[in-house]
């Protein structure tokens, strides 16, 4: 029986989305205060992680 390797790009995108959503939820809840600057940092980091993962995975394939 063959095992499918996990879709690491999808996994990275999911983790990034969950982390981003978690931050926004905490901000909404008032537990932390995120300014526009920090939201931009989080969005750029999430997008960057997903793109780098995608690029690296393609090279491995």
């Amino acid at each position: 029986m063959s095992r499918r390797s996990p879709d690491l790009v999808g996994l990275a995108a999911g983790i990034a989305a969950v982390a981003l959503g978690g931050l926004l939820a905490l901000d909404r809840d008032g537990a932390i205060t995120l300014g526009a600057g920090w939201i931009a940092v989080a969005a750029c980091a999430a997008a960057g992680v997903v793109l780098v993962t995608s690029g690296l995975m393609d090279r491995r394939d």
């Binding site: 750029c44 980091a45 793109l51 780098v52 993962t53 995608s54 491995r60």
Partner: protein, 422 residues
């Protein structure tokens, strides 16, 4: 499309640019989950508003990551990718570069939020200028590599149309990249001036410079246009001359040599008919654009050339070849020159004739020797094209050299050429 794309798309999400309004991400999602794309679009708009626009970033990400085309195209693309599709390596490198750029931007923004920062007026123009310079530098390195790889001969007019389309597309892409790099650097300069409240003064200077530049361009335009046309005409003439010389060398080596042999053997009708048939076959295959050289590589082609001379002149040629390589344009030129030198040795000196060739990492050398009475190369009639065109001219046109030393002990022809890509 990369292998990774195909793997993901086999059971999964793809963009559908044909059915989409922007990049086909939502149309692909609708097709994947079996929902009308219109409903997906409405839901997306609601979510964009609710998330304060953050979902647009996700859309851009999906645009960059998801493979394009309707489901099933991956399988076709695996065997016959469309001519204008970006290569998998380029897509991957583009994603990596964009990803690294975004991560660096995130780090810079973090420093800014933490207060470890000089000033917006300095840092952002520097970031923009660095990106533009990186793009221009990469472009200039790529151009330099391509220039090094330009063949010495004229481009073949019979090159397949997809190759020409790809070349045109690549040149447009280079122009676009170069323009984008210049725009980034100029944008950085303007941003710096604006942020430092000096744009007004700079604007006056810039307007003055632009007006002077336009006036100079109007004055110089006719001269530049004529210069451009002259250079193009000179290049075309140079290419025509080279092609004519190659044609003359080929006809000399094949048709003229065969006609000479036929005259020599006029008393042997069967031999003359065989020579004529062989020449006809060779000429037809040459006119059809087929490679006239036999054998798998350089060594095979050189051996075949020596055998042809042996057959045609009924003489023995001792062949020693050390090493081998693919038969490219330069190798073919050396084989042609060696064949002509062997033919001359068979015609004017007779046995023993030897051919020694050595293929090294960076170059190929060949020596054709005979023990005839020799001749004075400087005294050869200018109308005779064998040495001047078929040997020396052919080697020089292809970036090589030919030296002929002759005396009472015999004649030696030394042929040297650098290998392609070495």
């Amino acid at each position: 499309m990369g292998a990774g794309d195909e793997q993901r798309s086999a059971g999964g999400l793809r963009r559908d640019p044909e059915a989409g309004l922007v990049a086909g991400v939502l149309a692909g999602v609708g097709e994947r989950v079996g929902v009308d794309p219109l409903l997906v679009r409405i839901l997306f708009l609601v979510l964009v508003v609710a998330s304060g626009g953050l979902l647009l970033v996700a859309y851009a990400l999906a645009w960059a990551i998801l493979p394009g085309g309707p489901a099933g195209e991956g399988e076709r693309g695996a065997t016959a990718p469309p001519a204008d599709a970006p290569g998998p390596g380029r897509r991957r490198r583009g994603r990596l570069a964009l990803g690294v750029g975004l991560l660096m931007l995130a780090v810079l923004l973090s420093f800014r939020e933490l207060g470890i920062w000089w000033s917006d007026a300095l840092a952002w123009p520097l970031v923009l200028a660095a990106a533009g310079v990186a793009l221009l530098w990469r472009q200039s390195v790529a151009d330099g590599t391509e220039l090094d790889a330009v063949p010495t001969a004229a481009p073949s007019p019979t090159a397949p149309a997809p190759d020409r389309r790809r070349e045109r597309r690549a040149s447009l892409l280079r122009l676009y990249r170069g323009g984008f790099g210049v725009a980034l650097v100029l944008g950085a300069a303007l941003l710096f001036l604006f942020a430092n409240d000096t744009l007004g003064a700079a604007r006056d200077v810039a307007v003055t410079a632009i007006v002077i530049g336009v006036a100079a361009a109007l004055i110089l335009a006719p001269f530049l246009w004529r210069l451009g046309r002259k250079l193009a005409a000179e290049r075309a003439e140079r290419i025509r001359t080279q092609e004519k010389a190659e044609l003359a060398a080929h006809l000399h080596d094949s048709v003229l040599q065969t006609l000479t042999l036929m005259q020599k053997r006029a008393g042997e009708p069967e031999e003359v008919a065989a020579l004529a048939r062989r020449q006809e076959r060779e000429l037809r295959s040459w006119l059809a654009g087929e490679d006239g050289e036999e054998g798998d590589g350089f060594a095979g082609a050189l051996t075949a050339a020596a055998e042809q001379v042996e057959d045609a002149h009924r003489t023995a040629v001792e062949v020693v070849i050390v090493g081998d390589c693919e038969l490219d344009e330069r190798g073919s030129a050396l084989v042609g020159a060696a064949r002509e030198a062997l033919t001359n040795a068979a015609k004017f000196a007779g046995p023993p004739i030897s051919l020694y060739a050595e293929v090294e990492d960076g170059r190929i050398e060949a020596y054709v020797r005979d023990r005839g009475t020799g001749f004075d190369p400087a005294a050869v009639n200018a109308g005779r094209r064998g040495i001047s065109e078929s040997i020396v001219g052919r080697m020089e046109r292809n970036g090589g050299s030919a030296e002929i030393s002759s005396g009472d002990h015999g004649t030696e022809v030394q042929l040297r050429i650098d290998r392609d890509g070495a």
